[in-house]
């Protein structure tokens, strides 16, 4: 007995030692060697190596413990939460009044927030809500229709540039440009969809990634028309019935515009998802051949998915341009697309609540963790890896819609399950 325990402990220790050795080896070039270019000497920072070794040793223990816990909780199909927590939560999630109260409180909170926080924080909230809109738009393409799309920032740019150019050359106001930005982005999305109709998965991702870069490079090299890399400045802020607003007031005004847009997006996207069109999009994600055999026009539905998804990026772009009053191509790099995709994947593909939480996680958290800004990318990467291992379907996975059918016969067949859901 004692011998067996000792063996297990030795085995675990050996594993951790190997892991820490491996990590020390991997990080050796970047963490240990440092070339001092002034003195032409090499610094050997052995303490760093020791620290990494210790950290890897401890973390590998923790990692294996967490993995064991995960496997153990997967078998009985219930989480390791205490009984009371599980039961209460299930009750709250099913209980409509609770959901409505919670939603009402959140709505109220968002309405009064800009009056009680500083302009700086309002700005952060504006960018949070912009990402919510962007994420929800991408969610239609990636989450609902299942098309891996890596060029969302391009349509964000198209929206922003439509407003900037329309106001610079044609003197269009914000309120005319807002719908036009959305429409132009949607048309661009449909135009992109035509050549990629036959592509799926990785291949589609590569093409859309390329498209994103093309748009950025076009904007950068279009010369004086788009202002090139210098971008366009002095974009007018939105007008409020011709009244003159101070910068702080405009900020609050823009906050409300984005907030309204986010609300409209949430309602529109959830309505779309739960409709004939939405079901067709989901069918496309599940099985293209079966989808066609069931009478769904594959081409039409794909074009629709792209158009519906990119339109929201266009709206968000117009508001972004109006908020910053200055745009240039470097705001719309691939990194931006990656962030939006991360929001969708982290939050939960196809789930609206998930996207909102994902946006909060990826936009708000970095702002409040400014103190750790040097390690932001490390934290970000760690969070992603942990999520992929422990919650592969996202923070709030999408739940399929459950229908209520009133059928008197159903109770006779199966008493336990047929309770209305």
């Amino acid at each position: 007995m004692e011998q067996a325990r000792l063996n297990i402990i030795l085995h675990e220790l050996k594993k951790s030692v190997l892991v820490s050795l491996w990590f020390m080896f991997l990080t050796f070039p970047i963490m240990v060697i440092r070339v001092n270019t002034l003195d032409h000497t090499i610094m050997w920072r052995w303490t760093n190596m020791a620290m990494i070794g210790c950290a890897a040793f401890v973390l590998s223990f923790f990692w294996r413990w967490a993995m064991k816990k995960k496997e153990a909780s997967a078998v009985p199909a219930k989480s390791s939460w205490p009984h009371w927590a599980r039961q209460n939560w299930a009750g709250y999630v099913e209980n409509k009044t609770w959901i409505y109260t919670l939603q009402g409180l959140m709505l109220l909170g968002f309405i009064i927030l800009p009056w009680i926080v500083s302009t700086y924080k309002t700005n952060i909230l504006i960018s949070f809500l912009t990402y919510v809109v962007l994420g929800l738009g991408l969610n239609i393409i990636v989450g609902v229709a299942g098309l891996l799309f890596l060029g969302h920032a391009a349509f964000y740019a198209i929206g922003a540039y439509s407003y900037a150019l329309l106001s610079k050359y044609l003197g269009f106001g914000f309120w005319i440009a807002l719908p036009m930005g959305g429409i132009i982005a949607a048309l661009a999305g449909v135009a992109l969809a035509f050549p990629v109709l036959r592509l799926r998965g990785d291949y589609l991702a590569i093409v859309t990634l390329g498209f994103g870069e093309i748009v950025r490079l076009l904007l950068e090299n279009a010369g004086s028309f788009t202002g090139g890399p210098a971008g366009i400045s002095n974009i007018p802020r939105p007008q409020f019935f011709g009244m003159h607003l101070s910068v702080a007031e405009t900020n609050i005004y823009i906050y409300y515009i984005v907030f309204a847009l986010a609300l409209v997006t949430i309602i529109a996207v959830s309505r779309l998802k739960d409709s004939r069109i939405g079901r067709a999009l989901q069918a496309l994600r599940e099985d293209e051949i079966a989808c066609e055999a069931m009478g769904i026009d594959r081409v039409g539905v794909k074009l629709m998915a792209f158009g519906l998804g990119t339109a929201w990026a266009g709206f968000a772009g117009v508001i972004f341009a109006a908020k910053t009053t200055f745009i240039n191509p470097s705001s719309f790099t691939f990194f931006e697309s990656a962030i939006i995709l991360s929001i969708v994947v982290l939050g939960g593909m196809g789930s609206n609540a998930g996207v909102i939480l994902g946006a909060a996680f990826l936009v708000l958290l970095p702002e409040y963790l400014r103190a750790f800004s040097e390690y932001r990318m490390i934290l970000f990467a760690t969070a992603m890896v942990l999520m992929m291992v422990f919650r592969p379907t996202g923070l709030i996975p999408a739940r399929g819609r459950r229908y209520v059918v009133h059928d008197p016969d159903l109770d006779l067949d199966d008493g336990s399950k047929s309770k209305e859901v």
Partner: protein, 262 residues
């Protein structure tokens, strides 16, 4: 009376491979016909050709829907073929796995309903009415097939036999004139096969439909089909009633092989 489906001299080439060779076939209204043959004979390719998933290299496919005009299907998009009134199931089950049983059937109502993007966003009365009708009709179909107690279950969680039945329910939801079943009894136990046989008969009688099925279960084919086509290496080698076909020497040869005289 004009046949529902009329296939004349259809051939299908994949590069140098001739998967179908001059296939002639017709299915009459209200008839149960079967297509049998050894593995790799080209039965599923034939289904793919008539449902326009493939475009036949040669030959013509003509289809006469209920209360409709005779139409040539060559080169038509598969979704339009379905809309015209031809629905199919798949040999290797192709359900929408992560959606509920009811939603699987609801999707198949797509070609019989109209709501567009604006309808989805603003939900006028007509759209809400249509949506309600979709749910009701889909549920009624599930009940007809006998899957209604699972209606909110995810399709991939159903037992195998039920998944096959759900494919049939989904095909029926498109209101077909001709139902194509690709090995509906594959992997079912004898009891499930008997049930399926009764279901197919019930569908034909009550829904007034022509049915063409591919099947390997000989007892099922012999007792169900009114006419049987036998295919081997892409060619039709026999056609006739079950009795005729089962006594045809060529068919016996194709299925059992030939004695080798040394």
């Amino acid at each position: 009376m004009e046949p529902v489906l009329n296939v004349s001299a259809v051939s299908m080439n994949f590069g140098g491979l001739r998967a179908l060779n001059d296939v002639q076939m017709h299915v009459c209204a209200g008839e149960i016909a079967a297509l049998i043959g050894p593995n790799g004979a080209g039965k599923t390719t034939f289904f793919n050709c008539i449902t326009s998933i493939y475009e036949p290299s040669e030959g013509e496919v003509w289809f006469t829907p209920k209360a409709g005009v005779r139409t040539k299907l060559n080169g038509m998009k598969p979704n339009l073929v379905t809309a015209m009134g031809m629905a199919r199931t798949f040999q290797n089950i192709r359900l929408f796995k992560n959606m509920s049983v009811l939603e699987n059937v609801m999707i198949a109502r797509h070609c019989r309903t109209k709501a567009g993007i604006l309808g989805a966003l603003f939900r006028p009365l007509t759209v809400r009415q249509e949506e309600k009708e979709i749910v009701e009709r889909s549920y009624a179909l599930l009940k007809y097939i006998g899957l209604h107690k699972w209606y909110n279950e995810q399709a991939c969680n159903l037992p195998y036999g039920a998944q096959r039945k759900l494919e049939i329910a989904r095909a029926l939801a498109t209101e077909p004139t001709l139902l194509l079943l690709d090995e509906p009894a594959a992997g079912m136990n004898p009891q499930e096969t008997t049930e399926l046989k009764q279901l197919v008969l019930r569908i034909r009688d009550e829904m007034d439909m022509a049915i063409l099925l591919i099947e390997h279960d000989m007892s099922m084919v012999m007792s169900l089909a009114e006419r049987i086509y036998v295919m081997e290496y892409g060619c039709l080698i026999a056609e006739g009633t079950p009795a005729e076909v089962s006594s045809n020497p060529q068919v016996i040869k194709a299925y059992l092989g030939e004695e080798v005289h040394a």
